[in-house]
């Protein structure tokens, strides 16, 4: 693997880890549930997306790369749905927290 690809991998994964870290800090620090939910979905979306992007050059085969992308898409689907469900539940209960 060329130096450029290795560098790209490392940078993308590091950026992904940064988003996970930022999302986790926000999850712990944000004042209300809706903001925390917002932080969480960003970590899932961008964090995992960047980690998958960084892993793509290292996947070995196109099929393995495709599996990584499908994995990301599935997590997107479930995380977006869960965010909607929790948001709707919060609205129903109208909890201030």
């Amino acid at each position: 693997m060329s130096l450029a690809l290795t560098l790209f991998s490392a940078l993308a994964i590091a950026a992904g880890v940064f988003f996970f870290l930022a999302g986790t800090v926000a999850l712990l620090r944000f004042p209300d549930s809706l903001s925390r939910l917002h932080a969480l979905t960003k970590a899932d979306n961008l964090g995992l997306g960047l980690v998958v992007l960084g892993l793509l050059p290292r996947a070995g085969s196109p099929l393995a790369g495709l599996k990584l992308i499908v994995l990301w898409a599935l997590v997107q689907l479930s995380s977006a749905t869960v965010a909607q469900l929790i948001g709707a539940a919060l609205r129903r209960q109208d909890v201030p927290e």
């Binding site: 599935l74 689907l77 479930s78 977006a80 749905t81 909607q84 469900l85 709707a88």
Partner: protein, 313 residues
């Protein structure tokens, strides 16, 4: 200490921390959430122990399906009237003593294991070619110790019978309660519509590759079960009446086919639960296919609970 050692230690500490938190949680629902997180962390532990098959099982059954089961149970318990008196001191002490006893026995057993541990792994590996399989775990489950695995499936069927048997007499043969509210969230319906077809493909694929790679009937069946549970939660389909013939047939198909193949063993291969040389792999996959079906039906029925209305209502 290498980086991986440090990460492993941190992982172990987190697992212990989440376990302690789960026990200490006052709210039942918090404890369930803690248990699910604990299961997912445990799956990572299994990956670090180079046991991806166990990791998949832990994530799908130990954490996933059991998590749904516990959430459903805690919701159902919350609807019941609170008990008149909190558990007395004697009951609490008895529960604590029992827990300490079980932990003590387990700890003693682990600490007294010979070091290096006696292993049948080389033996299992050496005869792998005779089964035609590439995954030693599947070979152990469906070939070397097939009788144990067959009995495990029987236990699952007995668990469903146990759940059904708490139903009132008049509902026998009827339908379990719906898994969700009458008007489920549009987002959940959307998820069920998109995810279920993909999940079915992934579940079948996981069973199919289990012959040679990590995966197998348990993991594949658990994913199929999860898909049925999601579809029922979105109210796209209702729990079937427990009197239905196809349902009962699917439920027992796994252990029944396994037992039939085992009984045919003496005629095919000269021994009980033996597989004929050269035809072992197709036979193993045949048995496993019915086990996938059985597991995929059993777990959702455990989640759905006992019948609580007459069929067709």
């Amino acid at each position: 200490m290498t980086l991986f050692d440090a990460l492993d230690l941190a992982l172990a500490a987190i697992v212990l921390g989440v376990a302690a938190w789960t026990i200490a949680a006052r709210e039942m629902f918090s404890a369930v959430v803690g248990y699910v997180a604990y299961g997912l962390l445990l799956a990572i532990v299994w990956v670090r122990l180079y046991a991806p098959d166990v990791a998949l099982t832990e994530a799908s059954i130990g954490s996933g399906v059991t998590g749904v089961l516990l959430v459903a149970a805690s919701t159902r318990l919350r609807r019941l009237p609170a008990p008149d008196a909190p558990p007395g001191a004697a009951l609490k002490i008895a529960a604590a003593l029992l827990s300490v006893l079980v932990t003590g026995v387990l700890a003693t057993a682990v600490l007294y294991l010979p070091n290096p541990a006696a292993s049948l792994a080389p033996e299992a590996d050496r005869h792998l070619a005779a089964t035609g399989l590439g995954n030693a775990v599947t070979a152990v489950l469906i070939a070397y110790r097939s009788f144990d695995t067959m009995l495990e499936k029987v236990v699952l069927v007995l668990a469903v019978v146990g759940v059904w048997s708490v139903a009132p007499e008049r509902f026998w043969g009827g339908q379990p309660a719906p898994l969700g509210p009458a008007a489920p969230d549009a987002a959940l319906v959307f998820l069920a519509r998109i995810l279920a077809p993909i999940g079915v493909v992934i579940g079948v694929q996981m069973f199919w590759v289990g012959a040679d790679d990590p995966g197998g009937a348990f993991q594949g069946g658990a994913i199929l079960a999860a898909m049925w549970i999601i579809v029922m939660m979105a109210r796209l389909t209702e729990p079937p009446p427990i009197g239905s013939g196809w349902l009962r047939l699917a439920l027992i198909s796994g252990p029944a086919v396994f037992l039939l193949v085992g009984v045919a063993g003496p005629y095919m291969a000269g021994s009980f639960f033996g597989y004929p040389v050269g035809f072992a792999k197709p036979l193993i996959l045949f048995v496993e296919a019915f086990m996938v079906l059985s597991i995929g039906v059993t777990l959702p029925l455990l989640v759905a609970g006992p019948p609580s209305r007459e069929a067709g209502q």
